[in-house]
Symmetry: C2
Subunit: 596 residues, 2 copies
Amino acid sequence: MADYTPPLRDMRFVYHELLGCDDLAELPGFEEFTADLIDPILEEAGKICAEVLHPINRSGDEEGCRLENGVVRTPAGFPEAYRQFREGGWTAITCDPEYGGQGLPAAADVLVTEMICSANLSFGMYPGLSHGAYLALHSHGSEELKRAYLPKLVDGTWSGTMCLTEPHCGTDLGLLRTKAEPQDDGSFRVTGTKIFISAGEHDLTENIIHLVLARLPDAPKGSRGISLFVVPKFLPTAEGTPGERNGVMCSSIEHKMGIKASSTCVMNFDEAQGWLVGAPHKGLQAMFTMMNNERLAVGGQGLGLAEAAYQGSVAYARERLQGRSLTGTKAPDKPADPIIVHPDVRRMLLLQRAATEGCRAMAVWVAKELDKQERHPEPEVRKASEDFVALMTPIVKALFTDLGFENANLGMQVLGGHGYIREHGMEQYVRDARITQIYEGTNGIQALDLVGRKLGANGGRYLRRFFHPVAEYIEGHAETPEMAPYIAPLAKAFGRLQTATGTVAQRGLANPDEAGAAATDYMRLFGLTALGYLWARMAETAMAKSRESGDADGFYAAKQVTARFYMERVLPQTGALLSQIMAGGQTLMALDEAAF
Amino acid sequence: MADYTPPLRDMRFVYHELLGCDDLAELPGFEEFTADLIDPILEEAGKICAEVLHPINRSGDEEGCRLENGVVRTPAGFPEAYRQFREGGWTAITCDPEYGGQGLPAAADVLVTEMICSANLSFGMYPGLSHGAYLALHSHGSEELKRAYLPKLVDGTWSGTMCLTEPHCGTDLGLLRTKAEPQDDGSFRVTGTKIFISAGEHDLTENIIHLVLARLPDAPKGSRGISLFVVPKFLPTAEGTPGERNGVMCSSIEHKMGIKASSTCVMNFDEAQGWLVGAPHKGLQAMFTMMNNERLAVGGQGLGLAEAAYQGSVAYARERLQGRSLTGTKAPDKPADPIIVHPDVRRMLLLQRAATEGCRAMAVWVAKELDKQERHPEPEVRKASEDFVALMTPIVKALFTDLGFENANLGMQVLGGHGYIREHGMEQYVRDARITQIYEGTNGIQALDLVGRKLGANGGRYLRRFFHPVAEYIEGHAETPEMAPYIAPLAKAFGRLQTATGTVAQRGLANPDEAGAAATDYMRLFGLTALGYLWARMAETAMAKSRESGDADGFYAAKQVTARFYMERVLPQTGALLSQIMAGGQTLMALDEAAF
């Protein structure tokens, strides 16, 4: 397996140079997060990822999880790695200081998430899900629930889950059947079966806190009759230690294509004691707080795997000697040239690189707005940031995970047959990446969210948060000759996105199936255009920084080459996407179900 | 796991109605292969695939192969299934009747191959590799070798392998080190290590015949110094039974992402006795006979998995109830509508369908030309067919396997979380399909074959075998109003292909890296345009047949809808590909190796 090297240089570029995130320190609560604190945090995170989490990634995949008498054993090394992770404070970094957290800006946290997921996605699932449960409780729980659970979730001695899916319902949670019966003491008895529960049972923490969607007896049908409950594995004692065992059990674990060291459980709730979180029948809204955050985090998983695959590919392409350059021998002292001399290999490496660095920039861009949404003193700035984050969340989730999977497959193609066997670890990235396109709402569902809930909503207010700055940027650089190689293709892609937006909005009003028919292609068009905008900005920043302080290590020069590559070799996809969108939905709906 | 239903209706459409393969019966040796024999053969093949091979596909994946004391045990059911396969004559169908074969046209054999690979790709590897060895011996072996080995390979009591790859050389066979020392009796002693040897060791046959590339002591360096040897596991006795054990052993088997029931072996040759096949130092050419055939066969694997994934997706999309149609409830008697009502699900199903049926038509088209190449009485027809097959071989291999993998992934996306767990078998298709893009020359190597060896060769003679009929077809249908929805997009794609061809040929002459930079995109552009041509023809045939004999089962109507879908939703990709090609290779080559 290739080593993992935290891409700190590029992270600093994105955080400090490209997006100026140091100004986040001006927001209340973020005062201490100046560059001299952010950089060491990223370094330390990189260290534990490279030295503790990455070495058990492949062995964890080989070994997988085992269910023994209702207890899930994680693979060798996982409990010890978790102990170090927890003791290092990594479960607490973005949490509320009131409950023991460190309050790190999301703009830096996404980079930590990226590194964890590069190093060991399966491991990252445990604290990742836990953070989702933390958020739901933090946003919607009563003071009593918060005091009981948040400090433990923050310090990582306990972990959390999200229990949504049931055998007959995933996307359509309105169908769910799990029941909650009110008790005299104000608690509830929760009964039902949940499937696909990540981290539902494991041996990393002393207690597991389930956030469970269920129906109250008087619940209206469908998705407006769902409430959210907190159901601990062990009922907390008055002293805050794990007490009596609750009626929740893991009855089996799934055999999956990948993320094998992450336990995916079938959870049976049998009159388990739980407490209502938020208002009755408002569970879905409460869950969505957490799901939006999880969707951004899943985007970070895609990014992490994209980076890991890129690193593995480059290492192999430099070492593997095979054939000679078509333009003459490049390594005369060796029996063959390294395969990195071949243009088609470089094409694959640059596709990976353009995707990874582009997504990293987008991740921090969106996360910075999330920080402003939560901390900015001016309400209109908060609102604008909230709109932007709402708009970009489905794009980050779907685009990053699609590109993560594409990167892992490009990596396997660079490695050839050696990529298909387990030894190099590349095939694990492919298998691990594949789930990210599915969970937390399939990428098709993300696309429907974009066209259905974001595109036309509030008279296009969400959209303007993206369209206005991009239009201004293009206009503002139209006369800058050195930016021409970037602005011209970006303007073309942006024009296509504008055309598609108008068409999809108009057609979708008349016939919602038209919006559905366009959704996936529209989301890709949007995502690629957004990356185009960021690549133009990255090229501009690289030029400016290079003029300012030179380019001793060639970092800024490489950035500009990758930007050109993106414009020449990726952005043209937007033309095909526009044509596909304009074709409309008629042909899709023409066949009877029986004709398939 | 979803059932497998042999797509016999579509196969008959392609073979008889679209491509008129019944006229193959006019060729010498094919006299008996009229429709009344072809159809029952396909039906019988479908039966053994659906009833014998498919039921052990998932169990075979779960169990995998085991190496015990140098012997590989295939999974439960494999030896028995192989016995039935062999006794049914399926190892012999396309072989030379002189050695016990049945001489089936390749045009029908590709459909049998497709079904085997739909049902159980791992199983198909054993007879598939064996057929490669048969071909190499049949084309290049001495009479004595042929008499000794071919009847056993044909009747399937023995099997064969292709031993090319070594740890340090895959694509670049010029680096290979395995040695062959001549002996006084005219035989050779072969010593060396081969890796990634499919079916190198197993328990299905009583003997295994290795075709091995090695160097003679006086061999020139590089790829012009490689000879081909036949090295049996057991030396045949005078009676033709397996005799003394030869010095070849399986030292380990690979742990792979997929095709786990296919044994992938490290083979150690230790002074193993072998015999030269063909002329000294001409082994690579001899191997290429077999490799071209294997490349078409691997294309058939991609096609088979594309079909299997499509079937699994459709079955799930019809059964899974989730949400309601955006245009109003479609199944009021059910708690939710089947997901096939959603346009984005239909988009995925139609992408799968368009790929599968398009590739099936292309497979038979190319295979029919292969039959003409070998059997047509007129030399100029044979030559024309040979050119066409040479041109299309890399496209079939790469395009079909790329689309097979894409189809399997679309299938997983249709199934959502249920696709990621093993139960439904869809994730196995993804894992199994992935290798087909790599082995027998990665798809990048296929692209280099296309632009490097086929595009400019012989003054463009290869290309004309495709360009002329397509240009004529477009011209001939320019005035047919009912064909306009197909001809207009096809003409656009074809124009792009012509532009790209001229550009790549011209730039590649000046700088071979320019050809390499364009290769993968060019191949995709070529492949999609070729599918566009076939989809236009399929639409035309469907219209004609429908007028002629009605369309009681809606088959012809569905064909036309799928053709329109292909034109509207797939063919636009050609525009992006052309832009990417026109961008040239400069940016690809701009970065120093160290800058990656």
